[in-house]
């Protein structure tokens, strides 16, 4: 076995309020590694390149197959999932792999960030289909294959935060909701039963931080790991908002 190693530079932070700092690790190379397995190797031997014993790097992960969205990090400057980002490809662009936590979310520790802003936004837009009741609502209306295809694409969203990390409109200081919320708004508003809450969703999405704050940089479309049709979502919610605002102007009660 060769003892080939590669360098990994990790941005660390001991707790939410403390300052961040960088540490470099030498990691033994094995074929077909991804960033999670790299972090596992660092956890097994938490010694920096200059021989100092340190606390193991903390990170968040779940499914390890790019479905749960928990392990989003900024790797070599781009937001992506640690589980599906391959070391061989990273080493091709740079001999040192650089790993940082997402910059738009509060850091809990090291690479682990608090993504609750996104989940709160899902609550705000009522990201569900209202089926609870005292009697059986029966089968829902039929949908065309085309509608199903679009909604299937929206359903792939895993609330990973890549779209928001790359978005110039989304900052820690403002209340912008971002592409993730808009895609889920279109997802549930285009559902035959989910439509029942469409106006309530639009009331939220037309407020501060809503759809009208989008600046059309379209980075979200480029970085989305699940390739959601985010520009279609933004335009579609924009159209719904246009129509709803005119309707509300003439028939609104408040």
């Amino acid at each position: 076995m060769s003892t080939k190693t590669f360098k990994v530079k990790v941005k660390r932070q001991d707790e939410a309020a403390s300052a961040s700092y960088w540490q470099t690790f030498d990691v033994d190379y094995t074929p077909n590694m991804n960033v999670i397995s790299t972090l596992q190797k660092i956890a097994a031997k938490p010694v920096t390149a200059d021989g100092k014993d340190v606390a193991p790097v903390v990170w968040d992960c779940g499914c390890l197959e790019e479905v749960c969205g928990a392990c989003t990090m900024v790797i070599n400057g781009r937001a992506c999932q640690a589980c599906s980002t391959l070391v061989d490809e990273l080493l091709e662009e740079n001999p040192v792999i650089q790993i940082e936590p997402m910059s738009k979310f509060p850091v809990v520790r090291d690479l682990w960030v608090d993504r609750s802003r996104m989940f709160n936004n899902l609550k705000r837009i009522k990201g569900w289909v209202p089926t609870d009741g005292t009697y059986d609502l029966g089968a829902g209306p039929q949908e065309t294959q085309e509608e199903q295809d679009l909604r299937y694409a929206y359903s792939r969203c895993m609330t990973c935060g890549c779209c928001l990390e790359a978005c110039p409109q989304f900052t820690k200081d403002n209340d912008f909701m971002g592409a993730q919320s808009f895609a889920q708004t279109d997802y549930f508003n285009s559902h035959a039963t989910g439509k029942l809450l469409a106006d309530e969703r639009l009331d939220v999405i037309m407020g501060p931080g809503g759809i009208s704050d989008c600046g059309n940089s379209q980075n979200c479309v480029q970085v989305c790991p699940k390739e959601l049709p985010l520009l279609t979502a933004i335009a579609s919610v924009g159209r719904q908002a246009t129509i709803y605002s005119i309707k509300r102007f003439f028939t609104g009660k408040k």
């Binding site: 409109q169 059309n216 379209q218 908002a241």
Partner: protein, 300 residues
């Protein structure tokens, strides 16, 4: 980890309540009053090249461009249009700056074409508003910027440098449209460069703004329709660039010897002698064009 670190923000101010309306008015004000005006403005100015191509209109003794200017000046409620435009530009610019400061550009990290356009949209907006300000300040208010950007004429006529005996109203009856634009641009290459940069910025801002507005308002939803509308916006942008080029060629090639006698009178009496010599040739002075001639006309 706390389960709810971000409060559910609700609209809590008047600004919040009208958030959507303000945003959409911002989009609309850029397209209709400002954008449409700039289109008409550039199309009109492009006709300055008609003078380069065909010279003076034998029927009127003036350049063909003058007809367009006279038409605009004869429009009813012209001042109302002017103030409405100023209001639109101020609204669009002030809100634009607020929106710029509420975001963070990241083209160094995310080098995508659309992301560069996002940044360019903001940069060109800033360039355009600075340009528009100086454009109006020099041509409309006759500010003297650094001694090299100065247009001492009105769209009609001019004002004497030593108007102690003659009221400024007297010379406003002499149309000066093409000469005064040509004078501003031929005066110094910096002015020409600023015009090229400023107008190109405005054209990009409008063409790209039209493209993104179609997404904002929900007109183009599918990727294919966005691409098609993109072609239309490109065509508009290129068309306006041609109009700008024609206008600049017209102004830069304008020969001041083509001015009418009345225009030469205003020109020689308003400008210092070195500029008169520069544009009308050696030996020409204001003594060759007595003021009395146009003052008599003004009285009738």
């Amino acid at each position: 980890m706390s389960d709810s670190t971000v409060a559910l923000a609700e609209p809590n101010s008047a600004f919040g309540k009208y958030h959507f309306l303000l945003r959409r008015l911002h989009s609309l004000s850029g397209i209709i009053p400002i954008g449409l005006f700039v289109c008409v403005h550039l199309f009109t100015n492009a006709q300055m090249i008609l003078h380069t191509l065909f010279g003076v209109n034998p029927a009127t003794g003036e350049s063909y461009f003058q007809h367009e200017v006279n038409f605009i000046h004869a429009m009813p409620a012209l001042e109302l249009i002017e103030y409405a435009l100023w209001a639109s530009i101020a609204f669009h610019a002030v809100l634009g700056f607020v929106y710029i400061f509420n975001s963070k550009w990241n083209t160094t990290q995310y080098k995508y074409e659309a992301n560069y356009r996002y940044t360019m949209q903001r940069v060109t907006g800033i360039i355009a508003i600075i340009f528009i300000f100086f454009h109006i300040a020099t041509l409309r208010w006759r500010w003297d910027i650094g001694g090299f950007w100065y247009t001492p004429f009105w769209g009609h006529g001019g004002e004497l440098a030593d108007n102690s005996t003659i009221g400024m109203g007297d010379m406003k009856h002499v149309p000066m449209s093409l000469p005064y634009t040509a004078y501003a641009l031929q005066f110094h290459w910096v002015v020409l460069a600023f015009y090229v940069v400023g107008v190109l910025a405005a054209i990009f801002h409008w063409a790209n703004g039209l493209w993104t507005a179609a997404i904002t308002w929900g007109l183009t939803i599918t990727a294919a329709s966005q691409k098609r509308w993109g072609v239309v916006c490109w065509a508009l942008g290129i068309g306006l660039t041609f109009a700008m080029t024609a206008a600049l060629i017209g102004a830069m090639t304008y020969n001041f010897k083509d001015m009418t006698v009345d225009q030469k009178t205003v020109f020689t009496h308003v400008l210092p002698q070195d500029q008169v010599t520069r544009f009308l040739g050696e030996g020409v002075t204001k003594a060759d064009f007595p003021l009395e001639a146009i003052m008599e006309k003004a009285e009738h």
